[in-house]
């Protein structure tokens, strides 16, 4: 889960990483008096906010108010701006890059530092990035920092070393996937500042961080509702609502649908369950997604075919859908399940390919019931 810049900077402040003086507003009236230049930064969770006009400089209170009234409520890359972070403008001498990310390959934290900051790190030459792999059993050690400092031309080595240690503490103590300072600014007085702050927290670890608020901006309303109900649902811009059991099988079903020229409306992973209620309630979401067809793809294992069939039958009563529904049902208790469904007039197939082809046909060529 991404944190807003102002939330990330609050954490930086708690850990002693210097951030520019500033405050957050959600209405224009809250702007304070400013004699010097300030930066107004739209608080949205999308990348490329600056280029999209979400960061502006104002030279005094009046200009700040004018810009704030334009930004608040505006859309940045499709997201409405509800809050602004207003900060003292830094007198920038150099821009550096510093981050710690989860390295999946080496199963450990990876620290990256570059003297070329302020730009997308992917656009920086590999040899200009210093990388440090950190063994989670020993954490960050003095020699690692010495090694990094040795390779950098910065004069403020001691302060950089201190910031790195604190950044690692944040990464670990806040269960982060990413902590990033880009740019890490050296001002004309030689002081270091985290001019921007990006933190992504591991969603699965939120239970042990009551101090971190949940941010909802990244999901659609339907996705949030599904999450509350315990389903993994992704909204897409096509026509077919796909329900399957298991993330891999669900993705494979989307891929097959697309292969046959149709487009999916939702990705809905039932997971492993032996409760027909859970199957039934998924159709509440399917109905809400307003699809042109429904494709259910079940390979019965932990989730047995008869459980799924029972759930579908119940859903036919409770959440009747007036678009075509195709069911692929195979695996454990397949026969019982198929009989139950066919008795209610549901179109059943044994192989995924048959079901997907048929469903795509129905949508593309309109060959429904």
């Amino acid at each position: 889960m991404k944190l807003y810049e102002y939330q990330a900077k609050e954490i930086f402040r708690q850990y002693g990483i210097p951030v520019p003086e500033g405050y957050v507003i959600d209405k224009v009236d809250d702007i304070k008096k400013h004699e010097e230049s300030v930066v107004l930064k739209a608080q949205v969770l999308v990348g490329g906010r600056g280029k999209a006009g979400g960061i502006k400089i104002a030279s005094g209170t009046d200009e700040a108010k004018k810009i704030a009234s334009e930004l608040l409520g505006a859309q940045i890359k499709g997201v409405r701006v509800k809050k602004l972070l207003i900060e003292k403008k830094l007198d920038i001498e150099r821009e550096l890059y510093l981050s710690i990310i989860l390295d999946r390959r080496n199963k450990c934290p990876l620290l990256m530092f570059s003297e070329e900051g302020g730009v997308d790190i992917e656009s920086v030459d590999e040899e200009k990035i210093i990388k440090l792999y950190i063994d989670p059993l020993i954490g960050i050690q003095g020699f690692m920092i010495r090694y990094l400092l040795k390779k950098c031309t910065l004069e403020q080595k001691k302060e950089l070393g201190r910031i790195i240690k604190q950044l690692y503490r944040i990464f670990k103590e806040k269960d982060c996937e990413l902590v990033e300072i880009n740019p890490l600014v050296v001002d004309r007085d030689g002081k270091l500042w985290a001019a921007d702050a990006k933190i992504i927290v591991d969603t699965d670890a939120l239970y042990r961080h009551p101090e971190i608020e949940e941010n909802v901006e990244e999901s659609t309303d339907l996705e949030r509702e599904a999450k509350k109900m315990g389903y993994a649902l992704i909204e897409l811009d096509g026509d077919i609502a796909v329900i399957a059991n298991g993330a891999g099988l669900t993705m494979a079903t989307l891929d097959a649908i697309t292969h046959f020229g149709a487009k999916p409306r939702i990705f809905l992973d039932l997971g492993g369950t032996d409760d027909p209620e859970i199957v039934k309630n998924a159709f509440y979401l399917v109905k809400k997604s307003n699809p042109k067809a429904v494709l259910v793809n079940i390979f019965g294992g932990v989730t047995k075919c008869d459980t799924v069939a029972k759930g579908i039958v119940a859903a036919l009563e409770e959440y009747p859908i007036d678009v075509p529904m195709i069911v692929r049902i195979s695996g454990v208790h397949e026969d019982v399940g198929r009989k139950m469904l066919e008795a209610r007039g549901v179109e059943c197939h044994t192989t995924m390919l048959d079901a997907v082809k048929r469903c795509a046909e129905v949508v593309v060529k309109g060959g429904g019931k």
């Binding site: 699965d204 298991g246 993330a247 891999g248 669900t250 390979f299 294992g301 995924m352």
Partner: protein, 287 residues
Amino acid sequence: MAIIVDENTRVLVQGITGHQGSFHTGEMIKFGANVVAGVTPGKGGQEVHGVPVYDTVEEAMEMEPNATMIAVPAPYVKDAAFEALYNGIKVLHILTEGVPFHDSMEIVSYAKTKGAVIVGPNGPGIASPFKAKVGIMPNSIFAEGFVGVASRSGTLTYEIVNALTQNNIGQSTVIGLGGDPIVGLSFVDVLHMFEQDEQTKAVVLVGEIGGTAEEDAAEYIKREVSKPVVAYIAGRTAPPGKRMGHAGAIITRGMGTAESKIRAFEEAGVPVAKFPTDVPNLLQNIL
């Protein structure tokens, strides 16, 4: 032969009295696995499908387990895994979904110090038909044979293994690596083991979007693998930035796309199936 688990595997189930733990204990026994003990703190002295339950792994060690399935809630997984490792168990399957990945990193690091193998978290486990199973894969899909299967997905694996069996292609060992960003085994680790394993004649890799495990595997295959490999990749149509069910199945910063993985495999001479059920055909072409 087979890899990681075989007829010498003695299975412990941590969280055996839970819903999952108890059901799958029965299924593992039916598969032919030697389930020797279970652990649930506070429930010692009971039996589940005839398997004795202990309060602690320390006590369960009297049954000499050498592999464990961990089916406890996510907040307790790290403690359970450390308990198993501390007591010398060398194969751990972590079934649980939603384990914080800082916990997973520590488990994987500690396991390395103990020379132990972690299967998962968030995967269906491992089975060598019909020698041993540690996990939850449905018994009915398997046949014994010469193909090793490694997958980042659960149900999709069943689909593919089932298709293999239907086409009279048996398996040496089937392993679900887990759908989390941090898992104990990578495709490369498993390819190395399958390459060494005499029973295995060909390998199927089932990948998905997110990370670079498939690209790494392709590199490794070029250099080190003499046995034929075929692949399937899920998520060709997944939108970037969305977690597709699995915590690890997410395209971030333009990395981890299906295209990149498919291209890497094809460049390494590994045929990539269009649909899961094409895998048997591809195998038959090369075997």
